[in-house]
């Protein structure tokens, strides 16, 4: 019910300059070269470990560039894949292992996974994060452990509660070496996360590799390396530059333009929380930057009944919209489409698009979900045969359609595993400390979980340019673009910069304010 209307006319797309494209290409090559170089420069030659191939060997996943606005097709090599290594059992038998850090003993590595699970009103919400982390730990333990130690997982329930969340950080500080795979919505205080003391008494905080970071303060925490929503938008004040991935929207726009019917439509913003508005606005403005018209943007509450979506339908009717974008979740999309159907809109004539929040087994099973586009930054579960890491994950989870939180949690574990292996390879089995993990994490500029995920850059916390676009077809998620299974579109220019006000102010300014004052000022990341 809580909704406010913003309207504007469509604005033509601004093509990228040739120089910018060249810079982009060079930048991408530089990243790849640097990443490969690091691999070469840091061979796993630690005194007491032997590099061995893990269950998911590094794959050269072909990532296909899509047609850019000029109609060119590009193909890039996969970014750096950091090898998983396990330590030789022989060395483990002879090694003298020490308690090198809080959470690291001679026989155990203790990590903590925190998730909103036990809220009395929404029990089981992010259980998938805990399940994914535990599945990873079990998998590693079954394959010889990590750094000659068994991984022990402490579960902490943050209950969508700030106090429980802070308590989770404190508990991790005292009992674990790192937080892995967490999904907590109410992270508004990261002081303890960044300042609690290590075993040596240094106030360096604790490494945090969450499944996602919802609050900006969390994403921007120096000790946090989120798998999803890793972007830290906070630098400076006033109008700020946000990185945003527009690949799927640009591809859809290209298709629509080719059909002589460029996209313009209505945008829904999850409006219950300021942080949700914050994270939605750059995406909406990015759509404007690539020429998708804004017929109206609405602030929608998660509690709004389906009937209240009728007002958005009314705007769509009057504007003859052919595009519908929601930054909210699967339930919101279902209500929207259901009401649109009730009000007589031709659902097939409209491009409905939703983020990973709609990638749920339940969503695809709803009749009204048919035809909805969903984009992911990892290979869908349906393609487990196309990627070993994904296949291992699905096998470890024991179900074909695990929650997407579980995927991020698993990858968080993999990332931690790789960081530890790098430390061990370089400095030995007793060199694992929080500081060493933090140092290692801050250097990782390209990680893709052996081709399963789009490349993640933790050194700059830039969003991945990779995506795969799915569409609900006959009750299942079906790949639309790139067409080849197991591939992404990883064009570097999928990421653009938008110049957006402190997001609540941006919402207040509306699309008119943006187009008049800040549009076109972006530069592609170099």
């Amino acid at each position: 019910m809580a909704s406010n209307i913003r309207t504007k006319n469509a604005r033509p797309q601004k093509p990228l300059k040739l120089a910018t494209k060249i810079c982009l290409l060079l930048a991408a090559l530089a990243v790849i070269a640097a990443a490969c170089g690091r691999d070469d420069d840091d061979p796993v030659t630690g005194p007491d470990t032997t590099p061995t191939t893990a269950t998911a060997p590094p794959q050269t996943t072909t990532t296909t560039g899509g047609e850019d606005p000029d109609g060119e097709t590009t193909t890039t090599e996969a970014p750096l894949v950091i090898e998983s290594t396990t330590t030789s059992p022989d060395i483990c038998e002879t090694a003298e292992l020490e308690d090198s850090e809080i959470g690291i003993t001679a026989d155990k590595i203790t990590i903590l996974v925190m998730a909103d699970v036990g809220s009395p009103l929404a029990p089981g919400l992010f259980q998938g994060s805990i399940d994914g982390t535990k599945a990873w730990a079990d998998h590693v333990n079954e394959n010889g452990g990590l750094a000659c130690r068994e991984i022990e997982v402490i579960e902490h329930d943050s209950q969508i509660n700030p106090e429980k969340t802070t308590s989770g950080f404190l508990r991790a500080c005292e009992e674990a070496v790192a937080l892995i795979g967490s999904t907590s919505l109410f992270v508004t205080n990261v002081e303890d996360l960044n300042t609690c003391t290590d075993q040596a008494g240094n106030p360096i905080g604790i490494p945090d590799i969450p499944e996602r970071a919802v609050e900006a303060v969390h994403a921007c925490s120096p000790n946090t390396f989120a798998i999803t929503n890793a972007i830290c938008p906070y630098s400076g004040s006033g109008a700020r530059e946000y990185h945003n991935m527009v690949g799927p929207h640009r591809w859809l726009q290209a298709q629509a333009t080719a059909n002589g019917n460029p996209l313009h439509g209505v945008f829904l913003i999850p409006g219950d929380l300021a942080s949700a508005i914050n994270s939605s606005m750059p995406g909406i403005r990015s759509n404007s930057e690539i020429g998708i018209g804004n017929d109206g943007e609405f602030n929608v509450s998660g509690a709004a009944p389906q009937a209240s979506y009728a007002q958005y339908i009314e705007v769509m009717k009057s504007s003859d919209s052919n595009y519908a974008y929601t930054g909210s979740n699967d339930q919101s999309m279902l209500k929207w489409k259901s009401e649109a159907e009730v009000q007589g809109l031709d659902l097939d004539s409209i491009t409905w698009i939703c983020s990973i929040a709609c990638y749920t087994p339940d969503f695809q099973e709803q009749d009204v979900a048919e035809g909805t586009y969903v984009w992911l930054s990892f290979l869908p579960f349906e393609e487990k045969d196309a990627n070993d890491e994904l296949n291992t994950f699905i096998g470890a989870m024991g179900e074909d359609n695990p929650p997407s939180w579980a995927a991020g949690a698993w990858v968080a574990g993999r990332l931690f595993e790789n960081a530890v292996n790098q430390i061990v390879a370089r400095d030995g089995l007793n060199a694992i400390t929080r500081q060493a993990i933090l140092d290692e994490m801050r250097q990782i500029s390209a990680f893709d979980a052996n081709g399963w995920f789009g490349t993640l850059n933790f050194s700059t916390k830039l969003t991945s340019p990779c995506f795969v676009l799915l569409r609900v077809t006959d009750g299942e998620f079906a790949r639309v673009y790139p067409q080849e299974r197991g591939t992404f579109d990883c064009n570097a220019d999928n990421n653009i910069l938008v110049n957006v006000l402190d997001s609540e102010a941006e919402y207040n300014a509306g699309p008119e304010g943006y187009l008049e004052e800040r549009s076109g000022t972006y530069e592609v990341e170099e």
Binding site: A2, P120, S167, N278, Q306, Q311, Q343, E504, N508
Partner: protein, 776 residues
């Protein structure tokens, strides 16, 4: 003979409306209406979005508004019926609807039953049974309790039902209930006239059902024998019984009807909301406004109120443009309207009160020395524990670490806020469901005074916070002085909801751009309380000071006035107490305490979120636990610490790898369902858990001869006779008759073989009376 006929029982708020002549509309109502209209015009003018008004857009907004309004009406009519027929305003009405909507989903969707069969089973069989069960287990016991107990018990029930629903149907998948007649079934034209939008059959049914229910239920209540009996039982249970009505049966029928209405509402609403306990229950607060619009008795007016709210919300969200700061404005229509309606009510007459021995137990005032001693012991224990001077095994915080310490800090912050309820509700009888709103205001002031984002803040600003919060409380007391009982509770709820939707989410109140506002470490008395241990000591010190202060206050002239006000406002006025001024002062004191509590709570949290931190349900939970502990006892606030203590105990036990079933019980049952069960405990111990604990502990103290004497007296009384309900609801059992005979000194009466038939009781009574007369 302790349980006499309760002839003083009157429905809450009844006197307020029943005697208003239509020709004499109160000035307050006129003024409020004029003010509301002017405000609405101003808002439309200021925030007009500039959208073109076409027939289709206007008609769509209107019809959708009616459809949404009818959803509110479904719950609101249920509320009114339950209130009219039981005298209890049921906060759990929405929760009952939620539970039954899930049950309907279980049968219809999950188990594949036919929709009508599932509907019939839930609405006509299960829901009525739930109502009867509720009546027998809970509601009957609330009959003679104070209004605050009745309200809080239903809030407890709401929390309990929602938590149970969440436990049974976990939120791990989408649960969709389709519209009746299919997803898109409806009409687009009437008699060849194209409407421009589609009228969905399901929504037509919802609107029609809401209106039909209002008419049918009005007929049932005012034109049928059973309806008359229901109202009669509420008005005067004893008198109704003497006229042949069986109050318990009638009461059960009323609760069965109320539950069925809740279930029907929940099921019809479910397709619009999808099955989400939180979202489904949110509607109930809007329904309160609609019910109040109908003065809690007029069903057609209730439906009109609900439709009006739906229309206003829909048109506001369609035509007006609010910025991000006021993004919840369309949702605030209901609480604002509720507040206006409540304020517009004619001033409540001073009630004579209900000072009966079983309602108002004799109170022993805590001696200040005892309070100081108790607080000193508490602080010493905290000192010992927080410093780890003693090792108590699983109780040793040194082993527990910072996490439980953090939990304790936040809980103590809430406990401080909870203290504000004691003088206001516990002593003065003013129900306040908005303690968190006052606390948030205090936190906001502190943020402004001490500075946003400071690492260290000057703690002396807390005193200024208290000084500013006090007049704020006094300001609220002005409208509150017109209200009593239920309307006061609803007014405070509307205030809390309004603050949480319009005030706290504003970015200039609680800045949220960087993930919340940072509250730095407090510096006072030359000490920076920058560790959790030291801050815990400070917060306990503050708690102790306020508790001792309250104990002194309770013994003072003001304290006695507040209690007198609670006992009998009319008598208080008669003896020269300025009722309004007394209310203003107690509100000011309460607001000041809540404001100070808010500062400590915010600092314990380090940050606050303008939306999530001030959820109305969080505020209700504070009230719930303090009332369950014993709302008139200052130390009741400490009860808020018990939940985190239990939670941390489970964590500690888990770490020690012991007693898995106990960990499971604490985690799965005690923590999520505990507050609800705890508060429902009031039904059996209206004086509160802390009172009962204290009563058990007091005789041990050497100087408490009075406690030992009281226990002895009570034990003696237990051997005394229970008359029950004087044989009105059920026949006397043979042993009761023998007891009666014994007490009436009837020695020549012989119980016939085979006991008594039902009508024997009357005969027996007559004989007994005759015998008694003969004897005398």
């Amino acid at each position: 003979m302790r349980k006499a006929l309760d002839t003083s029982k009157a429905p809450l708020g009844k006197a307020t409306f029943a005697k208003i002549p239509l020709s004499r509309i109160p000035f307050g109502a006129l003024a409020a209406s004029a003010l509301g209209t002017a405000l609405l015009i101003l808002i439309f003018w200021r925030y007009w979005g500039g959208n073109e008004v076409t027939y289709t857009s206007f008609a769509t907004a209107t019809f959708i508004g009616l459809a949404v309004g009818s959803l509110y009406a479904m719950y609101a009519t249920g509320l009114v019926v339950v209130y009219k027929t039981t005298g209890i305003f049921n906060f759990a009405q929405g929760a009952i609807g939620v539970f039954n909507a899930f049950l309907f989903w279980e049968f219809y969707v999950n188990r594949g039953w036919h929709a009508l069969l599932a509907l019939a089973v839930v609405v006509l069989v299960i829901a009525p049974l739930e109502g009867v069960l509720l009546d027998i287990a809970v509601m009957r016991r609330l009959r003679n309790t104070l209004p605050v107990m009745q309200l809080v018990a239903t809030v407890a029930l709401m929390v309990l039902i929602l938590a149970t629903t969440g436990k049974i149907w976990q939120q791990d998948s989408i649960r969709q209930v389709n519209f009746f007649f299919g997803r898109g079934a409806g009409v687009e034209s009437i008699f060849g006239w194209n409407l421009g939008f589609k009228l969905l059959y399901h929504r037509l049914i919802t609107i029609g059902t809401a209106i039909a229910l209002a008419i049918f239920l009005s007929f049932l209540l005012y034109r049928t024998r059973i309806g008359t009996a229901m109202r009669a039982v509420v008005d005067n249970r004893g008198l109704a019984a003497l006229n042949g009505v069986r109050p318990n049966v009638i009461s059960s029928i009323a609760w069965a009807l109320g539950s069925s209405l809740a279930a029907l509402g929940g099921i019809l609403i479910a397709p619009e909301i999808q099955l989400d306990p939180i979202n489904l229950n949110i509607l109930i607060i809007t329904a309160f406004a609609a019910a109040t619009f109908g003065a809690l008795k007029n069903l057609p007016l209730t439906v009109v109120g609900a439709l009006l709210i739906g229309l206003l919300s829909q048109h506001i969200s369609t035509w007006l443009k609010f910025g991000s700061d006021f993004r919840f404005a369309p949702d605030a229509v209901a609480p604002v309207l509720l507040f206006i309606v409540v304020i517009a009510l004619p001033k409540a007459q001073l009630s004579i009160g209900r000072v009966a021995s079983h309602l108002k137990p004799k109170e022993r005032l805590t001696h200040p020395a005892e309070a100081i001693f108790g607080v000193a012991v508490l602080i010493f224990m905290i000192l010992v524990l927080s410093k780890g001077w003693l090792n108590f095994g699983i109780w040793d915080p040194g082993a527990w670490g910072q996490a439980p310490l953090n939990s304790a800090l936040v809980a103590m912050g809430l406990a401080l806020i909870g203290l504000s309820i004691v003088p206001l509700t516990g002593w003065a009888g003013q129900i306040n469901f908005a303690p968190l709103a006052f606390a948030g205001f205090g936190a906001f002031l502190y943020l402004k005074f001490a500075g946003i984002g400071q690492e260290t803040t000057n703690g002396y600003w807390i005193f200024l916070v208290a000084l500013v919060c006090a007049p704020m409380g006094a300001l609220i007391a002005i409208p509150a002085s017109r209200l009593q009982g239920l309307y006061l509770a609803l007014g405070s709820l509307a205030f809390a909801q309004g603050m949480s939707l319009l005030f706290f989410p504003h970015s200039s109140i609680i800045p949220s751009a960087s993930g919340g506002s940072h509250f730095g470490d407090i510096r006072m008395f030359g000490i920076t309380f920058d560790t959790r241990e030291t801050f815990l000591l400070l917060i306990f010190f503050a708690f102790g000071v306020i508790v001792v202060g309250l104990v002194f206050l309770r013994r003072s002239r003001y304290g006695r006035r507040w209690v007198a006000l609670n006992d009998s406002p009319a008598a208080s006025a008669t003896v020269g107490i300025d009722v309004n001024l007394t209310k203003v002062i107690v509100y000011a004191v309460s607001a000041a305490i809540a404001g100070v509590g808010g500062v400590f709570w915010a600092t314990a949290n380090s940050t606050l979120d303008g939306v999530r931190s001030f959820d109305v349900i969080n505020g209700l939970n504070i009230v719930l636990l303090v009332v369950a502990a014993g709302v008139s006892i200052p130390m009741a606030g400490i009860f808020l610490v018990f939940i985190p203590v239990f939670d941390n105990l489970a964590t500690r036990l888990e770490e020690l790898g012991s007693v898995n079933w106990l960990v499971w019980f604490i985690r799965e049952i005690s923590v999520p369902l505990g507050p609800g069960f705890l508060a429902l405990g009031m039904v059996f111990n209206p004086r509160g858990a802390l009172y009962e604990m204290g009563r058990g502990f007091a005789p041990i103290l050497p100087w408490r001869k009075d406690a030992r004497k009281e226990i002895a007296q009570e034990n003696a009384q237990k051997a005394d006779l229970e008359f029950g309900e004087m044989g009105l609801d059920r026949p006397f059992a043979p042993n009761e008759i023998i007891d009666l005979d014994r007490r009436l000194r009837i020695t020549d009466f012989v119980v016939p073989e085979g006991g008594y038939r039902r009508h024997d009781s009357a005969e027996t009574g007559t004989e007994a009376a005759t015998a008694a007369g003969d004897t005398t």
